[in-house]
Amino acid sequence: MNKNLIEVKNLQKYFEISSGVFSRNKSIVKAVDGISFDIPHGSSLGLVGQSGCGKTTTARALSLLDPKTGGEVSFYNEDTSSMESIDELDGEELKNFRRNIQMIFQDPYESLNPRWNIKDIILEPLNIHNIGNLSDREEAVYEILKTVGLTPPENYMPRFPHELSGGQRQRVSIARTLIMKPKFVVCDEPTSMLDVSIRISIMDLMLNLAKDLEVSYLYITHDLAVARYMCDRIAVMFNGKIVEIAETEELLNNPIHPYTKRLISSIPIPDPTYTRAEYKVDFNELEGIISSNKEGKDMIEVSKNHFIATHDVKGLL
């Protein structure tokens, strides 16, 4: 069995912007500009960066909500035990494949249909994919509600989203995602809209489910402290590119790219006696690493499983 569940090579998502009379002026926004990473089975990768760096665009391209404009995404195919490029899929194959990739959105207030009750919301994916008969489906909804901690399920099934709190709604989103038994879930800041008090219980729920159901996450957040709690590895994104990727503790303890250092130095620490080191970006330090990169690769490995980008560091901050 291949160790990776998903392999992303040089993923690009460009948007064409037109302006002027008759839209004659065209320009291109490179929202995601050639990023590569892979996620092993049952492992989670955090994608962190500031607003507008392309995190959500990456998520949408990976979950096939928006077509990518370049690069290759391959997914592990259980039947053939090999990696399969998603470009080769179409029609029925693609529909089946989509079951493996699900997404949890940021805002539980907007991502659930307000006119549907909880049962229908969670049933919808089963209906679309035509799984089992009606009583099987209802049984599945009942079970999944128990799994995500909305008990007793019969109390929640007839309710509507507006009757639930933010945390409960996000549990419904998670239930809707997991009912397809996906292998890979893209989470786009699933806890950033939630209150501190319920944030941890949602994060713990997701961690436990990942373990029990062997799901891999791509976890998008701007908060490194949350990423540390949730992820095995972290990729730092800046201006559409991944600038550094490493195992979580390694990244936090030995950050190399100046942008990563700047990001780490801006996270407040819940300890009044702790003084954060102020980090000003020092480009000379980076110069050495770049010049040593003679082969012209995009990422170089500085220590085991710790990669940094060597391009475009001059324009940082």
């Binding site: 501190v196 402290a225 407040p268 819940p270 300890d271 006696t273």
Partner: protein, 322 residues
């Protein structure tokens, strides 16, 4: 010297379902140059406290009891005209999501000028322009921002301009209500530094309201933890973090992830915040308390801050539970 003293403040919202006691028996004081933090989950009354200080609460909100002494003078009993003198030139406030509160069709500089003119009608136009440039310099903005419209600025710049606006009438006390909540971490870091710098330069007092205990740790000297409208623990920030006494404070601290130190299992705060309608005066945390005593379960202990150590107070209900 205490610049602000709040004594036994009660504030209710009258609603169709009943009286919502959003602020209950809240007392605290802020010294000259000090920064005071208020932390708690959504709906605990943080913003209601801030709004009652300037009496900007919604129309159905009434202060039913207590005193707010600003520079030794009670401001609860003042009428609108007298309050106008204190708003902005005595106490100013940076609202939550304030960067979206700019008027989109008026230039930034003009909007700040408007506030200054209201309080100092006799100042010349030139004086005001100088003042605005000076304010922009303090918050790290270029003076050309004056001639820009709000949509031309980024979120971080708008928020800096809001801080400049809050400083425009030389207040003694600034209330910052979640000033960085909508911003991302790097911008948040810059704004926090800016606020601290401004406070140092001008010797202001600051009330900093946040749900993020990590930000409170960085920004404040003293802090209060609010739960369901009441202060349940109050003291020097250092002491509260080092030696938290109330179960709720402990749970808040244990539920905050950090990027330094050992990676530890976080504790979730189970349960929902209680309804604030028509409650008795007993500890509302007892429903969620991990180890409540019989007294709290039977609801016989009234809420009351008692002294735990020097300048460190805790609600008496929770002194035995921890």
């Amino acid at each position: 010297m205490n610049i602000l003293e709040v004594k036994n403040l009660d504030m209710n919202y009258e609603t169709l379902e009943g009286n919502v006691s959003a602020v209950k028996n809240v007392s605290f004081s802020v010294k000259q140059g000090e920064s005071f933090g208020i932390v708690g989950e959504s709906g605990c009354g943080k913003t209601s406290v801030a709004m009652s200080l300037l009496q900007l609460q919604a129309d159905n909100g009434k202060i039913t009891n207590g005193e707010i002494l600003f520079n030794g003078k009670d401001i609860v009993s003042l009428n609108e005209t007298e309050l106008r003198d204190i708003r902005w030139s005595g106490i100013s406030i940076v609202f939550q999501g304030a960067m979206n509160s700019w008027n989109p069709v008026v230039k930034i500089g003009e909007q700040i000028r408007e506030a200054i003119r209201e309080h100092y009608p006799n100042k010349s136009k030139e004086d005001n322009t100088n003042k605005i440039n000076e304010l922009f310099e303090i918050v790290g903005l270029d003076s050309t921002i004056s001639d820009r419209y709000p949509h031309e600025l980024s979120g971080g710049m708008k928020q800096r301009a809001v801080i400049a606006l809050a400083l425009s009438c030389d207040p003694k006390l600034i209330i910052a209500d979640e000033p960085t909540t909508a911003l991302d971490v790097v911008i948040q870091d810059q704004i926090l530094k800016e606020i601290r710098k401004v406070q140092d330069i001008l010797g202001l007092s600051l009330i900093y309201i946040s749900h993020d205990i990590a930000v409170i740790a960085e920004m404040t000297d003293n802090m209060a933890v609010m739960y369901a409208g009441s202060i349940v623990e109050m003291g020097k920030t250092k002491n509260v973090f080092a030696n938290p006494q109330h179960s709720y404070t402990r749970m808040l601290l244990e539920s905050t992830p950090s990027i330094v130190g050992e990676k530890k299992k976080l504790r979730s705060l189970d349960g929902e915040p209680p309804s604030l309608i028509d409650n008795d005066n007993c500890c509302l945390f007892s429903y969620r308390c991990p180890n409540p005593t019989d007294d709290c379960k039977n609801r016989t202990v009234e809420m009351q801050l008692i002294k735990f150590e020097d300048e460190h107070y805790v609600d008496q209900c929770c002194k035995d539970c921890g």
